[in-house]
């Protein structure tokens, strides 16, 4: 179990470095296991450096940077062990236009292995989808679906 965990961890780590770089142009990020006798008990540390800064405390990151860092970790896990489907509820809300573009680009690349369903208020995220459902409440308090399918 220990060696399996370490093997999985290292695969996730390699992915994290790649995915993080795709979101943060001039940044670098990695993960590491904290010092511990038993790797199965160690903490997972996240280290990031954005645009020209030296190593950064996660708490000082901006709202959008935190969201992209967390999404990078989640996508890194998917690449190792694809979740067959993944629902994302308004995770794009803190992102600016450029980052929404990078986010939807990443979704398209991973959607070969993982089926993504996003809930969003953002036009660019909508444009990236191939199927779209609208939810409304014509009758008060009762949800109704309107399909706006493209394919």
């Amino acid at each position: 179990a220990r060696s399996q965990f370490l093997e999985t961890f290292n695969a996730i780590k390699v992915n994290f470095e790649k995915v993080f770089k795709s979101f943060f142009e001039n940044g670098e990020g990695t993960i590491s296991l904290s010092e511990h006798e038993d790797p199965l008990e160690a903490d997972i540390d996240i280290h990031v450096r954005t645009k020209g800064k030296r190593l950064q405390t996660l708490s000082l990151l901006s709202g959008g940077e935190k969201t992209l860092t967390a999404i990078s970790l989640l996508f890194s896990i998917y690449l190792v062990k694809p979740s067959p489907f993944c629902i994302l509820d308004e995770v794009d809300a803190p992102l600016d236009d450029i980052n929404i573009g990078r986010f939807t680009q990443a979704l398209k690349e991973f959607s070969n292995n993982t089926q993504f369903i996003t809930v969003t208020h953002n036009k660019r995220t909508m444009e990236a989808a191939s199927t779209m459902y609208g939810v409304t409440m014509e009758e008060e308090g009762v949800s109704k679906l309107v399909s706006v399918k493209f394919s």
Binding site: Q4, T8, F9, I12, D43, I44, D45, I46, L58, L61, T67, T69, A70, I71, L73, L74, I77, Y78, K81, P82, S83, P84, F85, C86, I87, D89, E90, V91, A93, P94, L107, S111, Q115, F116, I117, T118, V119, T120, H121, T125, M126, A128, A129, S130, T131, M132, Y133, G134, V135, T136, M137, E139, E140, G141, V142, S143, K144, L145, V148, S151
Partner: protein, 165 residues
């Protein structure tokens, strides 16, 4: 493996029978505030076996049953069915297509079915073993999780990676 259909009736604001069909690939759900989008997300968590009422924004499980409006009475049961195409034989079953159903009655009585055969909650959890699905996994992501993934308390991160390993 992909989710091809969700059927919702009596669950939260979905008083009327509602079906969503999906293709593999990227889909999105849009609509005004309060229209029911996150309720669909809750329905997916619930049919996968979610037992924590807080993850469903409730204090008791009975709150997921449609609770009525000025012009409609509350309903007596909530039901969600999810159809999964078992294309890569990821699910632990010989079926090509698997329909998972969960029902909850106001009495508190619960039912779980796989392809219309009554099973126990444990059987639903087992079928998703090792798939990265199942309600405690990283398959449903919302903004609140971003904070917990990055927080000083590293337990959340631990759980995520353990699911994968």
């Amino acid at each position: 493996m992909y989710l091809s259909k969700i059927k919702i009736i009596g669950f939260k604001s979905f008083a009327n029978k509602t079906e969503l069909k999906f293709n593999p690939g990227l889909s999105c759900i849009i609509g005004p505030n309060g229209s029911g989008k996150s309720n669909i997300v809750d329905a997916i968590r619930w049919v996968l076996g979610e037992q924590r009422t807080t993850a469903l924004r409730s204090d008791k499980m009975e709150n997921v049953i449609f609770n009525g409006t000025r012009s409609r009475k509350p309903m007596g049961m909530a039901e969600v069915s999810m159809t999964i195409e078992n294309t890569k034989d990821i699910l632990k079953t010989e079926y090509r297509q698997v329909v998972i159903t969960r029902r909850l009655y106001r009495s508190g009585e619960s039912q779980y079915l796989i392809n219309n055969v009554p099973v126990r909650l444990k059987d639903i959890i087992d079928i998703f073993m090792d798939t990265g699905l199942g309600s405690n996994s990283y398959s449903v992501i919302e903004l609140k999780m971003v904070e917990s993934i990055l927080s000083e308390n590293k337990a959340e991160r631990r759980l995520l990676l353990e699911e994968a390993a």
